[in-house]
């Protein structure tokens, strides 16, 4: 009997090669050491998917994992992690989605689903509480994510079914394919949809009608209420609630932090046409929320007229407004929404897809690409017809789209002729709309993140626009003023390390980083520790929780180390370290990466030569098996 509440206490092991589904008991030691979600997936990947396994081989694992707070009363506890070796980067990969899929899985009585093998023909996994089976998905293959979800709901005659589906991009092996989860939320990054497609798994459909138990009812209720009320009183709450992530478009632009033309600039002259006000005036229908979220940063948008009239979608985020807008020198808001909808339907990560096209447009500008190579497409800045056409070509792996579908790093290598210097990626991962020159902590975060360039692992929000009050509360008066200054490098290695460790925990318990933990900077270590304790019944002092975060992050680093990653890979594109930003507050700035990295390794107690955790550090974290595998 599983000793902890908050968990369902069991998970599903799906062998697609054999067409079998098995029930597995949740290991209490795994829960104690890794919590769930991100930690659960990291541990399984470490144990079962070594360097000899290609990300898209049948032996590769695809892991959907919730955490002990997912589906509970804690605010914005609706997140689910997807973990697999990334076919885009070849190293540790994960993606995280909000919405309702994760909680539904818990209500069905499952903490996680681990998928291995490859089905001889397309299938989907049907989970109706404790009835679980693989079903034929032949008729669904080739269809968009929204069509697939609708078809399964029709077949089950139940509009409450929650799905995780791939689109044509995942089926066709586009290396940055997403998994779309009810309702139109994306597990976008690292090509998790590509892994799903390689297994012949079109969808996971879940309907759960059971309860989630917690250990200490009175304490858990009191904590949950307190956290809800604190979020609602947070000074940032009204803006995030009203505008969601698009609200930061107007904040980032004057900072020179709004990447334009593939990071050539950090401000976009026509930003007012694609900011939150413009978006809401043009297309807002209503405000929406994910499961259990009092903030409700999500919105439904619909285009009433124009060339894309009738386009209706939710989850239009800051990242997509940039990737499909300023990044490709376009202020055509309608086209951004059309591109967003197309990506969601095709199952494409809007960030990597938009970045790949921005990169190609810069190569066109620099005359590195010609019409022969692009198949007759002139990749002019701001041409939204080309943008939309290319997205479709990427998803179908047609013509020039087939090259971009390999990801920016690979495309640059194939093109050659100096294309690499314009490829804005780290470890093969396209950089999101987060210019490190305008926020130094973000520069470091891109270099150190375990899934390649990434704003969401460390998620250093404190110095993004400057949160001095939150900085003081979290790190003490002595960290000011630098901690809240975007251009200062002092204290930032600590901010990044703390964010990486805390983020690993947040992604392991199943709550949202865009909610109370990072964007509002309201919920922190003591709050999560108390909530985990009350929900699960585990003894969870803050010190122990921090050790878990560190353990997960270090094990991911070890995973990357056995895949050949060293300090030499913790670097940034030349544009960030040598080309001063021309824009806004960041004018004249570069990322001073080396001094920050040096301090970061010290704080992490990693070997500064290799960038690997030391044997002593690993022993401290109870990762003796990693010492052996890294031969330390």
């Amino acid at each position: 009997m599983f000793p902890y509440r908050g968990y369902a206490g069991k998970w599903l092991y799906v062998d697609l090669t054999a067409g079998k589904v098995e029930v597995r008991e949740y290991d209490p030691e795994l829960a104690q050491g890794y919590l769930g979600g991100n930690g659960f997936g990291t541990r399984l990947l470490w144990e079962h998917v070594g360097p000899e396994v290609d990300a898209l081989a049948p032996e590769s694992l695809l892991i959907f994992a919730t955490g002990p707070l997912c589906g509970t009363l804690v605010p914005n506890a609706g997140r689910v992690e997807v973990i697999a070796k990334s076919p885009l980067t070849g190293i540790y990969g994960d993606a995280n989605a909000g919405g309702f899929f994760g909680p539904e899985l818990k209500f069905a009585g499952w903490d996680a689903i681990v998928v291995r093998g490859r089905s001889p023909s397309p299938v989907y996994l049907a989970v109706q509480d404790d009835r679980v089976e693989l079903r034929d998905a032949g008729v669904l293959w080739g269809h968009t994510t929204s069509e697939t979800e609708a078809a399964i709901r029709r077949a089950w005659d139940d509009p409450q079914v929650k799905t995780a589906t791939i689109g044509p991009a995942g089926e066709n092996g586009v290396r940055f394919a997403s998994i779309q989860m009810t309702p139109q939320r994306s597990a976008g990054r690292c090509g998790m949809g590509t892994v799903m497609g390689s297994k012949g798994l079109k969808a996971v459909a879940v309907r759960g009608r059971g309860p989630i138990y917690v250990a200490d009812l009175a304490r858990f209720h009191e904590l949950a209420v307190e956290l809800h009320l604190r979020l609602r009183a947070n000074p940032v709450f009204p803006a995030v609630s009203a505008y969601g992530t698009p609200g930061i478009v107007s904040l980032m632009d004057p900072l020179g932090r709004f990447p334009t033309k593939n990071f050539q600039m950090g401000s976009f002259p026509e930003v007012d046409k694609i900011n939150a006000e413009a978006l809401q005036n043009r297309a807002l229908v209503r405000h929406l929320s994910c499961f259990g979220c009092p903030i409700g940063c999500d919105k439904l948008y619909s285009l009433p007229d124009g060339p894309y009239a009738g386009t209706s979608l939710r989850s239009v985020e800051y990242e997509t407004l940039n990737a499909m807008g300023a990044n490709v020198w376009s202020a055509d808001l309608d086209a951004i929404l059309a591109a967003n909808r197309l990506c969601d339907d095709m199952g494409l990560d809007t960030i990597s897809a938009g970045r790949a096209i921005g990169f190609a447009m810069e190569l066109w500008e620099k005359e590195i690409l010609n019409l022969d190579e692009t198949g007759g497409l002139a990749l002019r800045w701001g041409d939204v017809d080309v943008l939309l056409r290319l997205l479709g070509m990427i998803a179908r792996r047609e013509g020039f789209g087939n090259l971009l579908a390999e990801g920016m790093r690979q495309a640059a290598q194939v093109i050659g002729r100096g294309a690499e210097q314009y490829a804005m990626h780290v470890k093969g991962m396209e950089i999101a709309a987060q210019d490190g020159r305008a926020q130094k902590s973000m520069g470091l975060a891109h270099a150190t993140s375990n899934r390649g360039a990434d704003h969401l692992k460390a998620f250093p929000v404190i110095d993004e626009t400057g949160y001095p009050d939150e900085a003081r509360r979290r790190y003490g008066e002595e960290c000011l003023p630098e901690m809240a200054q975007p251009l200062a490098i002092k204290h930032k290695p600590f901010l990044v390390k703390d964010g990486e460790d805390f983020g690993a925990v947040v992604d392991s318990v199943g709550v949202c980083k865009s909610g109370g933990t990072f964007v509002l900077a309201e919920i922190y270590w003591p709050d999560i520790a108390a909530a985990v304790e009350a929900a699960t019944g585990m003894d969870m002092p803050v010190k122990r929780l921090k050790r878990i975060g560190e353990r997960i992050y270090n094990l991911q680093r070890c995973y990357n180390a056995v895949h050949g990653i060293t300090r030499a890979d913790d670097r940034l594109p030349r544009r960030f370290t040598e080309e001063p930003s021309p824009s806004g507050n960041a004018a004249g700035q570069i990322v001073e990466l080396e001094p920050m990295l040096e301090e970061y390794y010290q704080l992490r107690e990693w070997d500064p030569e290799t960038g690997w955790p030391t044997a002593e550090k690993l022993r401290q974290l109870g990762l003796e098996d990693a010492i052996e595998r890294l031969d330390l």
Binding site: L73, F107, T182, P211, H221, H228, R286, P294
Partner: protein, 133 residues
């Protein structure tokens, strides 16, 4: 006391269902929530549906064993689970679909205004469900 619904403010977050079920069942169990979000698809519009605490409660009138009675201090109609025989007459009688049969235990479930401190209203972040005294 009654609960006032302003449906246009509902974002479909289901905080009301989660807290309702926790209050009544001690678990998070939307399936057993007394308040239900009715939705036209994932993106709404949404309508929180909950007992209106009618003055001439059809559910109480329909109950053959008198298991639904008025709790004077809160003016909430409350099901006595010991008396309830699970016949479903109240479910048939309710014009608002705001009373349900508990499939497992056989009794009927309805809002009792949490005996005076309705959790759904306290926790609704948008004011879509408000307590009116």
């Amino acid at each position: 006391m009654y609960l006032e619904i302003q449906a246009q403010k509902c974002t479909g977050c289901r905080i009301c269902e989660n807290f309702c079920s926790f209050h009544h069942e001690g678990v998070i169990w939307p399936q057993r929530s007394r308040v239900t979000i009715l939705a036209q698809g994932d993106n709404g519009p949404f309508v929180p549906n909950v007992c209106r605490q009618c003055e001439d409660a059809p559910c109480a009138l329909a109950c053959p064993v008198g298991a639904i009675t008025l709790h004077e201090p809160t003016e909430a109609w409350v099901v006595d689970v010991e008396e309830c025989v699970g016949c479903g007459a109240c479910v048939e009688a309710c014009p608002f679909d705001a009373i349900f049969l508990d499939g497992e235990r056989g009794g009927s479930l309805k809002c009792d205004l949490c005996r005076g401190e309705p959790e759904c209203a306290a926790m609704c972040p948008t004011g879509a469900i408000r307590e009116v005294v």
